[in-house]
Symmetry: C2
Subunit: 93 residues, 2 copies
């Protein structure tokens, strides 16, 4: 049985990637609200996804406030699709 990419097999990381699959980019606040996660947890998980090269993070300023913008990478997109395929075999879909 092929193993599920552990980086994606996590509720919050999967939710984040799922959102980024459908949207050109998303900032920290949006992701936090959409996923109903705490900032701390989100921060950690974004770092992991970023370290893996699944998404890229740009830090800008919106007016005077910091803004963290995330977008999925090609590699991330591929990994997500791969994960879905593997999952299908688990779910009998």
């Amino acid at each position: 049985m092929k193993e599920l990419d552990p980086l994606l097999h996590s509720q919050l990381r999967l939710a984040v990637m799922s959102i980024l699959m459908t949207v050109e980019e998303a900032d920290f606040v949006y992701l936090r609200e959409k996923t109903e996660s705490t900032a701390g947890n989100l921060s950690v998980q974004l770092d992991k996804l970023s370290s893996a090269g699944y998404l890229c993070i740009q830090k800008e300023f919106a007016g005077k406030r910091p803004r963290t913008v995330c977008s999925i990478t090609l590699q991330g997109r591929k990994a997500f699709e791969d994960y879905v395929d593997t999952l299908r075999t688990y779910l009998n879909l």
Copy 2:
């Protein structure tokens, strides 16, 4: 975002449930081979699924050797289907 049943959102437990969805019953050895897991890990995960009422475990003897047979319960079947539905919203399927 609805949360994914943590009992099913685990690689090994999901694999086990997936198998039990398609097969009347399966014994310990079969599950271990099919999932390529260690006996220790499998034992722990089967206990959890059993405690949750997702599967039932019968201990018999096959000749002189013990045999642990598992089958999915109605509740387990429902939980699995529910998990799949929830997951769809994450995966945009």
